[in-house]
Amino acid sequence: MMAGETQTKTMNMIEAINSAMDIMLERDPNTVVMGEDVGFFGGVFRATAGLQKKHGKTRVFDTPINECGIIGVAVGMGAYGLRPVPEIQFADYIYPGLDQLVSEAARLRYRSANDFICPMTVRTPFGGGIFGGQTHSQSPESIMTHICGVKTVIPSNPYDAKGLLIAAIEDNDPVVFLEPKRIYNGPFSGYYDRPVEPWSKHDASAVPEDYYRIELGKAATVRAGEAVTVLAYGTMVHVAKTVIEEMGVDAEILDLRTLLPLDIDAIETSVKKTGRCLIIHEATRTSGFGAELAALVQERCFYHLEAPVERVTGFDTPYPHSLEWAYFPGPVRIATALEKIMKD
């Protein structure tokens, strides 16, 4: 897992993400980081702390509160030859910039037959569990995967976050890099009423200080098992792991890490082995990414399945503020689905 001889340091996800940008700003003079409050202040989640001071104002800078402008300007910078890394402060705010993402960034290579490309990485925190209410909690990953021409990446721990972000920045196509903000500072068991565990107690907080990359499009096996395959990403990887350990189910957990391009081989191999598949995401259910996963599993593994594919998701309502934990697909919802799928 570790890259060569390089020294590791204990990092939380924010620090790992910061380190990835720091390294890319250092290595590639064309990398620029921009977004609301990312400059002097270092970002509302501190992901860009210290970067402006170190790399200068023309490399790391604040932008107007205008997501259409942020993404549109980044497309133009990419056409010039820069490698922009814009931050959208919350994934919930990406919608004003969606036309620039869907119709411009994603299509530029195709429509110009390689005359122009868009090597942009849009970083944005997503997901709930921080009492963010309906405008600071959404999980829009299936909107992103539905765009042809955009890659969608979601890390679940500091080590992956750094390696994936470096790979995303170096990628010559637009990447939407969704950061599960609930686990910025520590993995989340799903039990909101228990003390928060810091990343320092987790293996994946040992992060090499130097450059390394994790190839996009590859899932990670978080836990090997024979009884059921659990497909998850971001925060839900940790919640799933907690529930599985509590129940003593011999589940295989795949952390998808990249939703598009998807690691279909890993999914197919695992489901054919276990014969059961549980899909977990925090996003709303209808037309969620789980629907795509369920269809793929059905198409490719139908004759190996011993039970219907199950989905555990958020509900099809806006993310409520006070009733956040009734919305969140927590341990009860996951355990119920697991019991059902194991009984069939």
């Binding site: 205008n66 259409c68 993404i71 549109g72 300007v73 110009s112």
Partner: protein, 431 residues
């Protein structure tokens, strides 16, 4: 009616909603006598470093150089050589000859779509001639004049229009959505005004690298209503980006007159005022005024004095596109009644007044350009026309979505190839 929609009892006058309506509809006789035409000498030329708030009047006036007798006058006269003026005339005439031919090609069923820029040739040709060839242009869909003024091969434009074997965009784009990076011409989108913030980003990148190149971008007055336009102006003023914003106010956005973009209340150049950037309003049918204003804005941008918004006041003499029928919504004589005439006729008149041109030369040039276009068209059509035979290998449909083709696209590509083989038989090959 729900309770909330009922007018409460009061003695206040009822509110009324204003729906803009153009002054002339089919059957009306248009009269543009109330359009203010300031004297050529009346418009001062501020220095290129003038602060925007000291030149607000420029947003409500009209930069002019050519009077209606073909004389170049006033502070804005760019004093171009006769040779340069003839080059400008040639480019504009070539645009018109090209437009006429390609419009006809669409009517003959050789392609799906075309858009002319008749009457607006100056807004792209003269504008492009006033900037450096290395500067980057972010066009809308009606700026074929940029490519022509930069000597882009006509055959490549035609190949794109026909989506034929020579189309370097592989038939992926609607006709006229060109892309020409070697000629400083950004890929045309088709979504409106998206190029506006992109041009600002390009200009910001150039400035951040200490480059000397600037960006220039076009949209119509109609699409200046898009959010992208306002995003772009905000970013441009915040970062003092070296960019020129062109709004080609040709009065019509398909069937919606400029009032639906706010034109009843103020000028489009005046959008600059609120953003604290320089604004110029120009007679868009006066090629020398367009040239002079663009040169002013380019000098301003290149010396770190920031962006400029130029409104080109002009008239769309023909339909929006081959899919449009302007006789259904506007008065037929509007173009001929337009008080600023035709840009080609005006430049011709000027060159004749200078003793540098005559009718015989003009007719000969027109014949030469018609012939050039016709000959090129024949060459292009040898590479195929739309809908007659297959010009691109089928798998190109799946290429360039990403730099490397992911598994799901490979699978879909195989599926599509199998479909084609089923349809055309095992010995089938794309032409």
């Amino acid at each position: 009616m729900p309770e909330t929609h009922r007018r409460p009892a009061s003695n206040l006058p009822p509110l009324s909603l204003h729906i803009p309506e153009p002054r002339y509809r089919p059957g009306d006789t248009p009269d543009f006598g109330d359009i203010e035409v300031p004297a050529v000498e009346a418009t001062p030329r501020p220095g290129e470093a003038t602060k925007p708030d000291a030149m607000r009047d420029m947003c409500y006036g009209l930069v002019r150089v050519l009077d209606f007798d073909g004389q170049a006058k006033g502070a804005w006269d760019p004093k171009l050589s006769a040779e340069r003026l003839r080059a400008m005339l040639r480019y504009m005439m070539l645009v018109r000859a090209f437009d006429d031919r390609m419009f006809r090609a669409q009517r003959q069923g050789k392609t799906s779509f075309y858009m002319k820029c008749t009457g607006e040739e100056a807004t792209s040709v003269a504008s492009t001639m006033a900037i450096d060839r290395a500067d980057m242009c972010f066009p809308s869909y009606r700026q074929q004049g940029i490519l022509i003024a930069r000597d882009y091969p006509l055959i490549q434009m035609m190949n794109q229009i026909y989506s034929n074997r020579g189309d370097h965009l592989l038939g992926r784009q609607l006709p006229i959505m060109y892309s020409a990076p070697e000629h400083g011409f950004f890929s045309v989108s088709g979504n409106l005004a998206t190029q506006y913030p992109q041009a600002v980003g390009w200009a910001m990148a150039s400035a951040s690298k200490g480059d000397s190149r600037i960006a220039t971008v076009w949209c119509g007055e109609g699409s200046s209503a898009e959010g992208d336009f306002h995003s772009a102006l905000t970013f441009a003023t915040v970062y003092n980006a070296p960019v020129i914003f062109n709004v080609v106010n040709n009065q019509w956005a398909i069937s919606s007159f400029s009032g639906f973009a706010g034109g009843e209340r103020t000028t489009f150049a005046a959008r600059a005022v609120g953003y604290g950037i320089a604004g110029l309003r120009v007679d868009g049918n006066d090629p020398l005024a367009v040239y002079a204003a663009t040169q002013w804005a380019a000098d301003r941008a290149r010396t770190n004095n920031g962006p400029t918004l130029i409104e080109h006041f002009t008239y769309r003499a023909e339909g929006h596109s081959t899919s449009d029928d302007p006789s259904a919504y506007r008065a037929a004589q509007e173009a001929s009644a337009w008080p600023f005439g035709d840009p080609i006729a005006r430049l011709k008149q000027h060159l004749i007044a200078l003793g540098e041109w005559d009718d015989a030369q003009h007719d000969a040039l027109r014949a030469e350009l018609d012939d050039l276009v016709k000959t090129t068209q024949k060459q292009s059509e040898k590479l195929g026309i739309l809908g007659h035979g297959m010009h691109q290998p089928f798998e190109t449909m799946f290429e360039d979505v990403f730099e490397e083709m992911p598994w799901h696209l490979k699978e879909q590509c195989d599926q599509m190839l199998a479909e084609q083989e089923k349809k055309f038989g095992p010995n089938w090959k794309p032409e």
